[in-house]
Structures are given as structure tokens and as C-alpha cells.
């Protein structure tokens, strides 16, 4: 081993002679150990979340309105188709004056029971469809933004650091994708609840901010390489496949 290195390591304790000011601990006590979140990142997150929710809301509202119109049409169509039948039955039963109670019963059933059944069925499928469409809207809006960010990251050429340097980001993205699958499976099982929708939106937001952080980190490294004016080695330049 290097003699100077050996000597300094042996006398390491004598080297540690400086002491920090007591202010350091005081500052630490004032500042609670809470995870720092960049203000810009959180504002962006909230803005993205708000946009997506507004889009999803508009989408759901317009679809529900459209379905409502269709339901009305179906209702009207069924009423109009039921009326001639009622008249047909009336005509057919008119000669049989001896049993008026039965006629009335038949009229009641034809006038009310048949269309109501149809409405119930239509309403049920509308709610399910609205859920699925809302989910699809949220998913599509986020996926567009995420894919845009992913493409951005994938097209930035890197002049320094190896691919392993960014492996933490890759692991995090894979984990988020796993979580996304789990939440989706839950939605299939339990239907789209507010809680599950929140979880899904949260996952997309984290994914987006992770990709943003990766881009910032890559830019920082590239800027540093540019600042020190090291010649760019085109062979060592690579792109991240994330």
C-alpha cells in the first residue's frame, strides 16, 4: 500500500480534530425530517391531475348525456310500440264484455310493466359503461402524456455515465407498472370505486414525475460534460431504453 496512505489511515483519529458548530443540531431540530418535494414538481402534478379530472368529467358527462338521450328514445319507441298493441288487445277484448277486470289487468301490464323493465336494463348497462369509459379516458389522457415523456427521455443522447446509473429509475417504473396492473385487476373485480380511481391517478402521476426526474438528471449530466468541454465520444454516446 502507498506509504502516505498507510500513515494517514493509521493516524486517522488525530486528523478528525474539527467540530461542527452547535447551530447545526439546532437547525436540524427546527427542520423536521420530512421528505423534500420540489414545489415545481408538486404544482405540475396537481395541474396534470386537475386537467385529467376535468377531461374525465367532461367525457363522462357528455357520454351520460348521450346515453340519457338514447334511453329516452328507447323509452319513447317502446311506448309507441306498446300503444298499438294495447289498442289491438282492446279491440280484441271489446266483444268480451263479460270479463272487464281481466281486460283492465292486461292493459295495466302492457302499459306499465314492459317499458319499465327495459328502462332498468338500460340504466344498469349505462352505469357500467360510464365507469369503463371514465376509466379509459383517465388512462388515455395519462398514457399520452407519459408516452410523450418516455419518448423524450428515449431520444436524449447520453455522453457520460453508464446505463446502470439510471437503473433505479427503471426499477421504479417497472414497479409502478406492476402496481398499475394490480389496481386494474381490482377495478375489474370490484368495479370502479373512487378509491381505486384515486390510486390509479396517483400511480400515473408518480410515473410521470419519475420520468421527469430522469430527464432532469440526464440533462444535468450532459450539461456537466458540456461545461468541462470534454470531447464527446460518439461511440460512448447511448440512449436509454425505458
Amino acid at each position: 500500500m502507498d506509504e502516505l496512505k498507510k500513515y494517514l489511515q493509521q493516524n486517522r483519529e488525530a486528523l478528525d480534530s474539527d467540530e461542527p458548530s452547535p447551530m447545526v443540531w439546532e437547525r436540524m431540530q427546527v427542520q423536521p425530517p420530512v421528505k423534500k418535494t420540489a414545489i415545481v414538481v408538486s404544482i405540475t402534478r396537481w395541474a396534470v391531475a386537475a386537467c385529467v379530472l376535468v377531461l374525465a368529467g367532461i367525457g363522462t358527462w357528455s357520454l351520460l348525456k348521450e346515453d340519457e338521450g338514447k334511453t329516452q328514445e328507447i323509452l319513447q319507441a317502446s311506448r309507441t310500440s306498446a300503444e298499438p298493441r294495447q289498442e289491438e288487445i282492446k279491440q280484441a277484448t271489446e266483444p268480451v264484455i263479460a270479463i272487464p277486470e281481466i281486460n283492465q289487468e292486461i292493459n295495466k301490464v302492457l302499459a306499465s310493466a314492459i317499458p319499465e323493465k327495459k328502462i332498468v336494463a338500460v340504466q344498469k348497462t349505462t352505469a357500467e359503461r360510464a365507469d369503463l369509459i371514465a376509466l379509459q379516458n383517465v388512462e388515455n389522457s395519462f398514457k399520452q402524456v407519459i408516452n410523450l415523456q418516455r419518448n423524450k427521455v428515449g431520444t436524449i443522447p447520453m455522453y457520460a455515465e453508464s446505463a446502470e446509473y439510471f437503473s433505479d429509475f427503471k426499477i421504479q417504473i417497472r414497479q409502478l407498472e406492476k402496481d398499475e396492473k394490480t389496481v386494474k385487476a381490482e377495478i375489474v373485480k370490484r368495479g370502479l370505486t373512487d378509491d381505486l380511481l384515486d390510486q390509479l391517478i396517483n400511480l400515473y402521476q408518480i410515473k410521470l414525475s419519475t420520468l421527469k426526474q430522469l430527464q432532469t438528471e440526464m440533462n444535468k449530466i450532459n450539461n456537466r460534460v458540456k461545461q468541462i468541454r470534454r470531447p464527446v465520444d460518439s461511440v460512448k454516446t447511448y440512449f436509454i431504453n425505458i
Partner: protein
């Protein structure tokens, strides 16, 4: 020794739950050694204090990740060194040093440092220029290889070696000058 480990384990567990007294105990126990790593790496008290504070905050925040509480010291030191490296990467601009360091070292008088006061050596290490100071500290005191230093600081292995030899040469020149002036 075993009792010390047990005490530390208990204290780390309490600190993990946010107990301020335990955190204060850990700070008191390790702050001096960690602060000296920071001063040697940054070369000034103010940045060193900021890094020390940041490192302890990171440690206390992530204490749950520490599987072996007895290894708190080593774990904290890794955090401190990593924070120092991060700081250096942000603030150091590397320039090439063209002198033939291999020749200068072969002419070096062996063991010249043994007659020098260790405090003076420490003082001169802290006042070495940016770049070579960090490489010197990582190589000599933190026991990093030149390959590791190159990977961590984003420089080539040969830059790391040449910066180390530059640091040694400067250290010797400055100490000799100090002895000549002050005796």
C-alpha cells in the same frame, strides 16, 4: 463492546420511531467524525456544515431501511461520503493536469511526512485545490480505488490518478513552505 452495540441498537430503534433524544445521542456520537469527512471534502466549514445537516436528515428519514442497527456508523458514513460526492460533482470543474507525476513521485523522499505535525497535514489537506482534494481524500482516507473514484465523480481513471499525485506534490510543497516560514 457487546454492551455498546446493544445500547446503540436500542437507540437506533428508538430514533427510528422519531425519538429526539435518541437522534441527539446518535448525532453527538457521530457528528464529529462525519463533519471532518465533510470539511476535508468541501474545504470549508460552511458547506461542510450544510452537508453534515443534510446527511443526518437523510439518515434519520431513512432509518427504517437500515436492517442492522449496529451498523449505523458505516451506513451513515456512506451517506455522508455520497452527499460529499454529489456536492463535488455539482461544484467541481475538472481540468487536465499535464505534468509527469510519475517522475515527480519517484524523486520523492520516502517518509517525509513522518516528521511533520499531523495537524498541519490535516490543515494542508483541507486547503488543497478543488478536484485534487476530493480525489486525495477518497483515495487515502475513504479507501476508494481510482476506478471507484472515476465512476463516482464522472472522470477517467487516469484523471483520478493524476489528480492524486498532484495533491501529493502540492501537499509536500506547501508543508515544506510552512515549515520554512514558521519553523
Amino acid at each position: 463492546m457487546e454492551q455498546e452495540t446493544t445500547i446503540q441498537t436500542a437507540i437506533v430503534r428508538k430514533a427510528c420511531l422519531g425519538d429526539q433524544t435518541s437522534q441527539a445521542w446518535l448525532y453527538k456520537q457521530y457528528s464529529k467524525a462525519m463533519f471532518n469527512i465533510c470539511t476535508r471534502m468541501t474545504g470549508n466549514q460552511s458547506d461542510a456544515e450544510d452537508l453534515l445537516q443534510e446527511s443526518f436528515m437523510i439518515a434519520f428519514r431513512n432509518l427504517k431501511q437500515l436492517k442492522e442497527p449496529a451498523q449505523f456508523g458505516g451506513w451513515l458514513k456512506r451517506i455522508v461520503v455520497n452527499e460529499c460526492i454529489r456536492f463535488c460533482k455539482k461544484n467541481t470543474y475538472w481540468t487536465t493536469w499535464d505534468e509527469h507525476w510519475d517522475e515527480t513521485l519517484s524523486n520523492e523522499e520516502p517518509g517525509w511526512w513522518q516528521t511533520v505535525d499531523i495537524k498541519m497535514v490535516h490543515q494542508e489537506i483541507k486547503s488543497l485545490p478543488d478536484g485534487c482534494r476530493q480525489v486525495f481524500n477518497l483515495y487515502v482516507l475513504e479507501d476508494y480505488s481510482h476506478k471507484d473514484i472515476a465512476n463516482h465523480l464522472g472522470i477517467s481513471e487516469s484523471t483520478s490518478k493524476s489528480q492524486y499525485h498532484r495533491a501529493r506534490q502540492l501537499l509536500k510543497e506547501r508543508i515544506i513552505k510552512q515549515i520554512q516560514v514558521h519553523g
